[in-house]
């Protein structure tokens, strides 16, 4: 056993799965069940499923349960390998199998799947394990339906935000999405984007220049999609229109952030009169209202190079730790990050996420009561 981490750790990206899609059936009407029996769930992720992945079928080789079921589908194994092993204070569930709901052609089916997933997550993961918190999956085809779904589930104490994928039909600052943001803004809850879905279904291509050939290329499109969403949020005035929302971008990298913001700040000086409601340098909005996760953390040219980027990116506010368990590119809480000053590490490992997701410190009494 490794030495136990003595610090508080909030893991912002844990992928839980079902053993069979039939686990969703109790939460789906017969009408949808019939289609699924005949045609499957019809959910494919980046590039309509044509790309390879890494590890063993996309997962850490040791994360498959002994009974031969899917990695991530077994709560006792997740406790053993992650929650207990690293003494995780909270883990944020980001799902897997249902995440591409927003790529489906039928808005009603997409909304039914999102809704079933949310109920399944609450019953199978959040209620049995108090360390796990969930994000409510939404289908973006029809934002009014998505808003209703959020109103239905956001009051559950284990739900700490809304979740969607990076791939989209158009960027997330546009007014099309306003009904969703109104619900989140009323409650002061975050809008969380997880990488994936680029080039699937009716979403745009994985890169602005079309489809690449290989998985390693598709992975690099994450920064491109996130930059497109973030510029949209800035110049569509979303931060001022919805002052109580924070936007979280998971698994799309962080080290590109400072240079991207330098470019935006420079351009804005001469172009600001085209979007005059953007009254401050773009970087200021981002530092205040956008958060990123660490995994997969680059090694850079050694710790100094990363610490310099952390300083430029205001990591003490903007960066939150994530393992991505049980995916193959899992980051170990003990070894993934460079050595850094204690206070900065505390912000990244737990406190930034505690603020975004409003998670109380788990006291000894709370732990004893679990």
């Amino acid at each position: 056993m490794p030495p136990r981490a003595k610090e508080a750790i909030i893991d912002c990206d844990i992928h839980q799965r079902f053993k069979s899609h039939k686990e969703l059936y109790p939460y789906l009407s017969k009408a949808w069940q019939k289609d699924i029996d005949e045609f499957g769930l019809r959910l494919t992720t980046t590039g309509s499923g044509g790309f390879l992945n890494g590890g063993t079928g996309g997962f850490r080789e040791d994360s498959y349960p002994a009974d031969g079921t899917m990695a991530g589908s077994d709560l006792p194994l997740m406790r053993e390998q992650l929650l207990d092993y690293y003494d995780i204070e909270y883990g944020i569930l980001t799902g897997q199998d249902c995440s591409p709901v927003s790529t489906l052609p039928n808005a009603d089916y997409a909304n039914a799947i999102a809704s079933a997933y949310n109920d399944w997550m609450i019953e199978h993961w959040i209620e049995p394990e108090p360390r796990l918190k969930g994000l409510a999956l939404i289908a973006l085809q029809n934002p009014n339906q998505a808003a209703k779904e959020l109103e239905r589930v956001l009051d559950h104490p284990g739900i700490v935000g809304a979740l969607t994928q990076a791939g989209a039909r158009f960027p997330y600052g546009q007014r099309f999405y306003d009904p969703i943001y109104e619900v989140l803004n009323d409650r002061g809850m975050p809008f969380v984007v997880h990488t994936g879905g680029e080039g699937s279904g009716w979403n745009g291509n994985p890169t602005p220049v079309g489809y690449p050939s290989y998985y390693i290329e598709a992975r690099q499109s994450r920064a491109m999609s996130y930059q497109a969403h973030i510029t949209s949020l800035i110049f569509e005035g979303a931060f001022d229109r919805f002052p109580n929302i924070q936007w979280v971008f998971i698994e799309g990298g962080y080290i590109w952030l400072p240079t991207f913001l330098w470019r935006l700040d420079s351009d804005w000086k001469g172009l600001r009169d085209q979007t005059p409601w953007v009254t401050r340098p773009p970087s200021e909005y981002v530092f205040e209202r956008v958060r990123f996760t660490t995994q997969p953390m680059e090694q850079g040219e050694g710790p100094k190079s990363l610490l310099q980027i952390f300083e430029w990116g205001r990591a003490e506010k903007t960066l939150m730790f994530a393992t991505d368990y049980p995916h193959w590119d899992f980051d170990s809480p003990e070894q993934a990050l460079p050595r850094m000053p204690e206070e900065l590490r505390r912000r990244i490992m737990s406190e930034n996420a505690r603020e975004v997701f409003k998670l109380p410190v788990r006291t000894t009494e709370a732990l004893a009561a679990d």
Binding site: P2, G54, D62, W328, F330, S332, Q335, A336
Partner: protein
């Protein structure tokens, strides 16, 4: 007896430690042992024995639990050649590949490597109290790792 050579035979004195009876480590099998607080994986690959430190130089995953495989060897663009079956172990976390016989990584053999240890197969001469549960004949032999 036959010795599985590694390129990193050290001059400092190493002690031999019991790993398994030869018959309990047939070709294609492996055993993870703990020696002086160090976790070590011992492999029988087609009758040759190898030992690697069970900790990946990247983020410390249990490397020796990884898959033993071949790989797509370096080729000209758009040629896909799978070769070197059973010569490579792939880390169970992020998939870094290492040559089992030398511990050298495939992506940077000179700078990224995992510690290897010598393995010998020897006749069991003296009865060893720690393994007296297993009656051993001279022909059978025992697998020892040098740490």
């Amino acid at each position: 007896m036959e010795q599985a050579t590694t390129e990193r035979a050290s001059t400092r004195t190493r002690e031999k430690h019991f790993v398994a009876l030869l018959r309990d480590l047939p070709p294609g099998s492996r055993k993870i042992v703990s020696i002086q607080g160090r976790s070590i994986g011992v492999f029988n690959i087609d009758g040759q024995f190898y030992a690697l430190k069970n900790s990946c130089p990247h983020q410390g995953a249990p490397l020796c639990a990884g898959r033993i495989k071949g790989t797509r060897v370096a080729t000209k663009p758009f040629e896909y050649v799978y070769a070197r079956e059973n010569e490579i172990i792939k880390c169970p976390w992020h998939g870094w590949e290492f040559e089992i016989s030398t511990g050298r990584s495939i992506f940077n053999p000179h700078r990224v490597r995992v510690q290897t240890y010598d393995v010998t197969v020897e006749a069991q001469e003296e009865p060893d109290p720690s393994i007296e549960m297993y009656p051993v004949t001279v022909e059978e032999g025992v697998v020892m790792v040098h740490v």
